[in-house]
């Protein structure tokens, strides 16, 4: 599943609503046995350090807990793993148009078992040499 968008009304941010919404998406992934959820996290606070830090360095600082990003830090807390930067992800000056690819792997995913095709053995076709 691709995370298209998550919105919380500005007056209701900080009350855990984003976490509730994301939990429903996790439930959907588990219910339909999807491999996981992938998305692009807009690093909303990157502009504060963009003049002396690459996106890779910024993510490393966030993962280490030395910097906090309003968007990415919360997603990491919810169980997403940050991967590579995505340049020109969308027009968004605060992130300098970067997003960070994030992945949540469904822990209960199981690879579907192949379909069993009934096979009727025709013995007469193999009765060679009799």
């Amino acid at each position: 599943m691709y995370g298209v968008e998550t919105l919380v009304h500005p007056d209701y941010q900080g009350y855990g609503i984003g976490g509730l919404l994301m939990e429903r998406r996790f439930q959907t992934a588990r219910r339909y046995n999807l491999r996981g959820i992938v998305g692009g996290s807009l690093i909303m606070d990157y502009h504060k350090v963009a003049d002396h830090m690459t996106p890779e360095q910024y993510v490393a600082e966030i993962v280490a807990g030395r910097l906090f990003d309003t968007n990415l830090s919360k997603q990491i807390k919810k169980g997403f793993q940050p991967r590579n930067p995505i340049p020109d992800y969308t027009v968004y000056p605060p992130s300098r148009n970067y997003a960070i690819a994030i992945i949540w792997e469904n822990p209960s995913y199981h690879k579907p078992v192949g379909k069993i095709i009934p096979f009727k053995f025709d013995q007469s076709r193999w009765a060679v040499g009799r």
Binding site: M1, Y2, V4, E5, Y15, R24, R25, Y89
Partner: protein
């Protein structure tokens, strides 16, 4: 589902599957959340785009509703995507979503 972390003075919020009737409210929520000026709303999500997402993958669309005012205060949207987790995701949002 009811939010547990809400402040005592804040009404409870219920998270439910998104339906067509929520499309107009979702469009308004996007303007408020992204701080889009009224004159620029044509560049942003219109109700039809939310309806399209609901039609494509209803199981991945949820809204958070204020249980007293029935105002939409949150939204999340997912779409089905075949993705190879061993390779990096490098495509833009527009490219991946077909412009929303």
């Amino acid at each position: 589902m009811i939010a547990h972390k809400l402040k005592p003075e804040t009404a409870a919020v219920a998270v439910i599957p998104a339906e067509h009737k929520h499309a107009q409210g979702l469009s308004e929520l996007s303007f408020k959340t992204y701080h889009v000026a009224a004159e620029n709303t044509n560049d942003w999500f219109q109700p039809e785009e939310y309806i399209s997402r609901i039609n494509m993958f209803p199981e991945g669309q949820f809204v958070a509703i204020h249980t007293q005012t029935h105002e939409i205060v949150g939204y999340t949207s997912g779409m089905r995507l075949h993705f190879d987790a061993t390779k990096p995701l490098l495509t833009s949002w527009d490219e991946t979503t077909g412009y929303g």
